[in-house]
Symmetry: C2
Subunit: 652 residues, 2 copies
């Protein structure tokens, strides 16, 4: 776009939120019923903006990389999330004030209280604290949750300790949070009431399927599991070629303890997730060279663990080369995420990649980086990009007995030594009766390591004693029943469980961050808000404005409308009696990048004026040239100057 | 398209379902966990097909009519569905076999048993019953649910009675179904066990929001309520102009008692719903003339109530003119639904509009027509189109105290006589204390009728006694406190609650019906299945097939790929070593309408062959002319002959 955004008005979150509500980008759901925290509805411009972002995502990721799109259900039976670990571990820690019944999310509480104490300390030391954190909305919120900040000077050592805790706040376990609460004497900030120690609260919404109510189920908290469960079908669909990626776009649900910060922490949200399946022995990426020189800002785990937030700037090639980012495929997606986010309107200077700390990362993950966007609420995780290793496919395979593997024909057969078990099947039936099948299945599903150990024991004692799930007591197996030997085999097939690289996008958070990054007020006038949404994602591309209501102008309005419709460019006609200025101001708020003004000259020579939203520059030319310029700038991403080079500068 | 589908193989649902599974259009969710009835995942071609249908829907309805798209949450608090009536009435009737614990949906059970008895009667009379109903899949199903059909001749009167019941099966209440079960001695078809009388089962999935678990909620069973609740915001967004429509596309959930028939009755499904808000005194439609001559097939309620299924063919203009369809707006949408369904691939000869019978229609609806598509499972409701009157807005307004009305400035002020209440506010506080506000609010929200009655009572007795929700005991109001008089007022504004016309699309049902309508086998070969999906909705538009793996062909393959990508035409390259025939057969199953073959001639003169899926006709020309033809046929809906007129017929 033209780029020039002339403003002397500092960013105000309150003004932005008023605009978003006034223009019905989004609003609290069930507002006439008093609303429900953490649930929001999208109005027409919000819907269009979101649809355009999804469309851009589909083109940038699915089409560009030939990914396999999947749509799995949100309703998911208990067993699936028991296996994936969500039933046991997908939870936050909450503290209850037993007197008032209020419930707090433990990590957020510690964060808020320590931040508020640090502010009080700064005030006591006579330092200024940033204006934006003092706006009305925040004041109101603090009043409600954290009492007025007290101007209390803290010991230098305490300040350092607080800052250190805050830098690592995402890494604490529940008991650790409990210790911090005790150590720092944190109480209910509203009442000073004592809090119970943190307890786990599972974040999945539960329900039951079917008329009997016996089939317990959850609403998915992510789309990933649906993709893993379809792995074999997807591999077959891809003609068994590796690597490949699947992708899903859909709603997920998290029963947040205390939703806050508008669209940033909600209970129902749109996700777009990719599961890229890759050979664990080869995580190179064929297209890595195309992105390797892209410079990005990183916050690696070591820096955070030392209590700092200082960013390191380097190319993704260097980051992978030095081992800071684990592998090429992970690096490739980090770069592609950057390109996507900046294309749709996030400010690259407010985008960083933060690595998960060792105690924060899932135990199975080998590396994880979050794309974080800076907003008035701080740095917000908007995209996660994790190497989940073979965890998910392994646990589902183990639980269901279905093989979720790749069978790769070897270019040359290879001779391998491996432990094999031989089973005297005829003796199994009489010996184990109805359990025979279970025992056999258990034996053949042992790993090489386990077989080696069992083999040693069998050799030593002439028998082994094992416990098998589903059978009571010990099972004794002697050399008559089984033998375990190391044998040489010629293999023609290599069988492996692929690893998964998972870029996972929270669309609502990205959307809100773009609003913050692109909102400004024109000149000195705080009331003249503009949303500089990039044309490719703007809800409507063109506002068509006849200068007056005169019937004389109607044929040319109709003509331009028809051309826009034929070219499939989303547009609106505003033929209301409001002044041109008012009509444009409304569309600045809606983020409409282009205006076409139709005047009495237009009737004579079919020329029209094209206005650019950010600079309010105007150019004039034929209907065809103007619409060509709009198409070029919107869909081919050329600059305003380049796109309008054929048109004449126009001063009204 | 070319139109010619030469086949000698009768339709087989089993073959179709095998194809859909083999090509991963869709598959049971959680299959490796044993699956959950009524839940399905979409694979890559299913996703693309569904996305294309949604895209076509958005263009056909939202863009064409300038509708306001809204996205509301699926999680919905209890209060909303209590008000809308879903908590009390959104249920099916189920019968339990107390011995076996099996649960049946009462209406489906009666339907299946009577149909099976009628078949047995026909067999006993020596009549043939249709082949398709005897395929393997059906035999298996019947075995499971209804025992082998017994060749038992029924009395002519009984046959007539059964047929009459079946024609009205959608209209029975639970107790009526119970009477039919007793009268016709219907038992558990598998065991002959006795069934309990039908009881209601609410079809909404429930859950709870927040850590306390106190906020009861449901997953929405339709998207409509989210649109109604946003009515005032939408009206404001539309600059208070009427009529207007909102639209939502999203998932809804119904906890079906016994899901069956694949995608036709599922527990989680995609809906696309329109709420068209209209002046109850003027339901004309500005664009009705454009559709009035469209001929459609109707099954009005009178015909069904007389026990018949005979279709009436007439234009929608005649249907509205004669009053059979209630009003123009309803008629306009019926016509637009027809145009949409036939554009995306349903067979117009298997599409009818069935009117709801009086006992089937919601009590508030003034008229309701379902677009039904004929499939091997019978006629299936795929789109509902109802006039919901002012019901929804009225009940939500009454419950929340928010006005959900249109305020229309009158061209000329008008004098009206109306009852008005005057309240002696000063006396209210002392008299009613904390209840004063509630009493006042109750008084001012009385209707004209109620005021008239209250006024009479007050005149007669000097006081009135009323009961008010939220206040215990009777409230006495005397002439000191209130007066009610008929007064003349000059009004400049007309205030009204709009009526709602609601076209509601079940996308999964439409999708499955298109599969049935467009599936056939080539020639005499039952194994050579073809899905003749219209190009506009086909998952992939073009298959690019190099004749051989020769490196010589690669540059031209790359060139054609680049042009297709630039033109944003979804395509796939198949450079596998399978024969051309095999590669095309695979894509016939995937519904890919066009094939471009690249051979050694192409290297010389850059000409390529274009193949049409249904007729296997081939034409040849330059890359540009071939791709132009594809674009014309796909996106401008011209015929094959017209689109390829520039190209030469090609015989290989």
């Amino acid at each position: 776009m033209a780029g020039a955004k002339e403003t002397n008005v500092p960013f105000s979150r309150e003004s932005l939120e008023q605009l978003l509500k006034r223009r019905f980008f989004y609003a609290p759901s069930f507002e006439i019923y008093g609303g429900v925290a953490g649930l929001f509805d999208f109005g027409p411009p919000g819907c269009a903006f979101q649809n355009n972002i999804i469309d851009a995502w589909r083109k940038h990721f699915i089409l560009e990389e030939d990914m396999l799109e999947v749509e799995a259900t949100m309703l998911t039976p208990y067993e699936v999330f028991k296996t994936s670990g969500h039933v046991d571990r997908f939870s936050d820690w909450m503290c209850k004030d037993l007197k008032s019944g209020e419930i707090f999310r433990a990590d957020h509480l510690v964060e808020e209280v320590l931040e508020s104490r640090l502010k009080g300390d700064k005030l006591a030391r006579g330092e200024n604290i940033k204006d934006e954190e003092e706006d009305d909305e925040n004041k109101k919120k603090r009043k409600k949750k954290v009492k007025e900040i007290k101007h209390v000077k803290l010991d230098d050592k305490v300040v350092e300790e607080y800052e250190n805790v805050l830098a690592q706040i995402d890494g604490y376990s529940g008991p650790e949070l409990g210790e911090l609460i005790t150590k720092f004497e944190i109480t209910n900030p509203g009442t000073g009431g004592k809090l119970e120690p943190p307890v786990e609260f599972n974040l999945m919404f539960d329900t039951a399927i079917g008329p009997s109510g016996n089939l317990k189920a959850y609403l998915r908290p992510e789309t990933a599991q649906g993709q893993f469960l379809n792995f074999s079908k997807l591999l077959e669909f891809n003609n068994d070629k590796m690597p490949f990626a699947s992708a899903s776009i859909g709603k997920s649900f998290r029963n947040e303890i205390a939703p806050r910060a508008g669209l940033l922490r909600v209970r129902e949200f749109l996700m777009a997730e990719i599961e890229h399946f890759v050979d664990p022995e080869d995580k190179s990426h064929a297209k890595f060279d195309a992105v390797k020189d892209l410079k990005l800002k990183f916050l690696p785990k070591g820096v955070q663990e030392s209590g700092s937030n200082e960013l390191i700037e380097k190319t993704i090639g260097e980051a992978v080369g030095s081992g800071m980012v684990d592998n090429e495929t992970l690096g490739y997606f980090i770069a592609r995420i950057y390109l996507f986010l900046t294309k749709i309107g996030t400010d690259p200077s407010r985008l960083r990649f933060r690595q998960h700390m060792s105690n924060e990362m899932a135990h199975y993950a080998s590396d994880c980086w979050d794309a974080e966007l800076e907003t008035s609420y701080g740095w917000i995780e908007c995209v996660g990009c994790a190497d989940r290793s073979a965890y998910d496919l392994s646990v589902h395979a183990a639980r269901t007995g279905e093989k979720l593997v790749v069978r790769q024909p070897l270019a040359e057969p290879r001779v391998v030594e491996k432990f094999e078990i031989e089973i005297a099947k005829k003796k199994f039936g009489p010996r184990f009766r109805k359990d025979a099948g279970v025992v056999e299945k258990w034996l053949v599903s042992r790993t090489q390591c386990e077989l080696e150990d069992l083999g040693k024991e069998l050799k030593k004692d002439g028998k082994i004693n094992v416990q098998i799930k589903g059978i009571e007591g010990n099972i004794e197996l002697d050399s008559d029943l089984i033998s375990i030997e190391k044998v040489k085999r010629t293999e023609h097939i290599r069988e492996y469980i692929p690893n998964v690289i998972e870029p996972s996008f929270g669309i609502g958070r990205i959307l809100y961050s773009i609003f913050e990054h692109q909102f400004w007020a024109r000149g000195d006038d705080a009331e003249r808000g503009v949303l500089s949404l990039p044309p490719i994602v703007a809800p409507t591309k063109v506002l068509l404005v006849p200068l007056s209501n005169s019937v004389e102008l109607q044929p040319i309005v109709k003509k331009v409308s028809n051309v826009l419709r034929k070219e499939k460019i989303p547009f609106k006609v505003d033929d209301s009696s409001a002044s041109i200025g008012k009509r444009y101001a409304r569309n600045d708020e809606l983020g409409t990048p282009f205006g076409i003004t139709i005047d009495f000259e237009s009737v004579k020579d079919e020329s029209v004026t094209l206005r650019e939203r950010d600079s309010t520059k105007q150019v004039r030319g034929s209907v065809k040239d103007v619409i060509d310029a709009i198409k070029e700038i919107t869909y081919s991403e050329v600059s305003w100057d380049e796109g309008t080079s054929k048109l004449e500068v126009f001063e009204s």
